[in-house]
Amino acid sequence: MSKYSMHLLVCGGTGCKSSESDILLERLKKELSKQGLEDTVQVIMTGCFGFCEKGPIVKVMPDNTFYTQVQPDDAEEIVEEHVIKGRRVERLLYQDPASKGHVEDSKKMGFYKKQLRIALRNCGFINPESIDEYIARDGYMALGKVLSEMKPEEVISMMKKSGLRGRGGAGFPVGLKWEFARNNKSDKKYVVCNADEGDPGAFMDRSILEGDPHSVLEAMAVIGYCIGSDEGYIYIRAEYPLAIQRLKIAIKQAEEYGLLGNDILGTGFNFKIGLKYGAGAFVCGEETALIHSMEGSRGEPTLKPPFPAESGYLGKPTNVNNVETLANVPAIIMKGSKWFSSIGTEKSKGTKVFALAGKINNVGLIEVPMGTTLREVIFEIGGGIKDGKKFKAVQTGGPSGGCLTEKHLDTPIDYENLIANGSMMGSGGMIVMDEDDCMVSIARFYLDFTVEESCGKCAPCRIGNKRLYELLDRICQGKGELEDLDRLRNLGEVIKDTSLCGLGQSSPNPVLSTLDNFMDEYRSHVVDKKCTSGVCKDLLEYFILEEQCVGCTACARACPVGAISGERKEPHVVNPAICIKCGACMEKCKFDAVILK
């Protein structure tokens, strides 16, 4: 047969690559050529499938078989069993956690059932390093349509009607943003793609750039046409080497095809795209700070106005959009604003990509229509909480967001609802916590991050967050007072009201939302000096269970400070006044008699 009758799609995202998917890909090719099948079966490296929990992923088309956790050594078996004999390799199939049965078809997996992929439409489907495959999926058609059939005003009005809002966090209407940039007259304007993804646990932008870089380039050229710009930059953190490499390849291919450069598609429109690297500072996701960093200055935000649409990069009108926002643009142009606005809720249209992380079974990247409930995301798509534990809270929006609890589970997710409940969309990170997580230390963790990432330009953020952190740290150490809880709230609100940029204006959210939802946990830290989840080490004491202890003296001999006493073959006792909580006794005990409480 001259043409391929089977495709093996191997995930080439950062997650799967670090689990040796690139070696696996080579092995598959080798096995196929050993069997003389290299012309019958095509091996393709794709972007992220989203199911990172079980990577590396191999998907076999056209029968839709979904293999998980495939190791390089499995290549031989896949080729011999599946490719040659047509028998699925059972042990590599995804196992449904509820029924324990193997799921052959990816469409039957709970993880994919509720998803609607617009921004991720090509991730895990095409080879990101092939512009031809992108074109086969209607790639650059939106640009062609816009350049030859639409006026810039029409495109902007289409975006406005679609209801697309910025996916980087704030949710500003995209069409309106373009219109501002268009209306500011200037000899030079810039289009900037914000790829400075900084929320801990969020990786949708990276996955889009790695899996479908051309969609971002195409959207940037469309914006260039709409606002009257001939030059764009992607500001990407140097910590994303694979995304940078794929972008470089994509830009080169687009230039060779003349889809970037001068006189694009014979329409006289010129547009070029360059890359600017960031050093991975969280604050540079803020658009004014990002622009300063691009100019070679310190990545510090400045007051708005002037907005970048008036005076941005090098003082020229600049339009900044986030990666995920851009990935939606070509789809909207091809399918129309009506189609897009039919998806989602009243004020939040379309879909949103979420990065699921934490104590959840299916860690990974998902895309769902706006208005999907947290329960659907966490329990249906996410497969519930790890090890059958109890759900406690979910942190949305990263360090700027808040914690939502059980009572919020049935709230439809959109920009407005999340804010009304004390959190925010942010870039779409979702960190799930179970009963073993202490909410006070979670708040302290996020504050630690913001203190580290604050640029230090304005006092409320620089000093205020530091003080917030110190208060939380004291509480975790058991030195907190009841008044500290009021201090936390007051200080948090002042920081929110008075900070210069979005970082400080949202950094107290994790504290305020945990105060709202988990007051009893704060109280037990402060009043009873107890951490019920058993996380805050300073509040715990080592204790020997009398009925379990056989008096072997192993713990007493291991204790470096002599805090354990007791006669041979008699139960031992820990003296909390001397104990330094090193845990050596617990490690040594063979009878599970030492506990923390």
Partner: protein, 133 residues
Amino acid sequence: MEKIKSLADLKKIREAQLEGIHLRKKGEDPEKLVQVKVAMATCGIASGAKDTMEFLADALEKRGIESVVTQTGCMGYCYAEPTIEVTLPGKEPVVFGKVNVAKADEIIEKYIKGGELVDGIIPVNYETIDSKE
């Protein structure tokens, strides 16, 4: 690489490239297509299943029938190899035995195109774990 000079050129490239991902696109939604499974175990291949499969894949495409042709393992009807299983959209799968190239041609023309049953159907008289669910 040749530059693309117009939207029409771009469309041409798209058409030419479509074939490359066609197989994957079909796999996304197999229920709407004609699905053909060819038993390609040792006995099937020895009886000529490979030729049948190549013919089916080729002919279905040439005759413009949206279909997915995949291989499967031994179906157990070794006396009737090569065997194929055909699932028309919305219908129960039907297994045909002794499918050589000529028979395959007949199946396409009569059963797949017209839904008309042809000789050689093997009645499926067992239940699988799937069908019991």
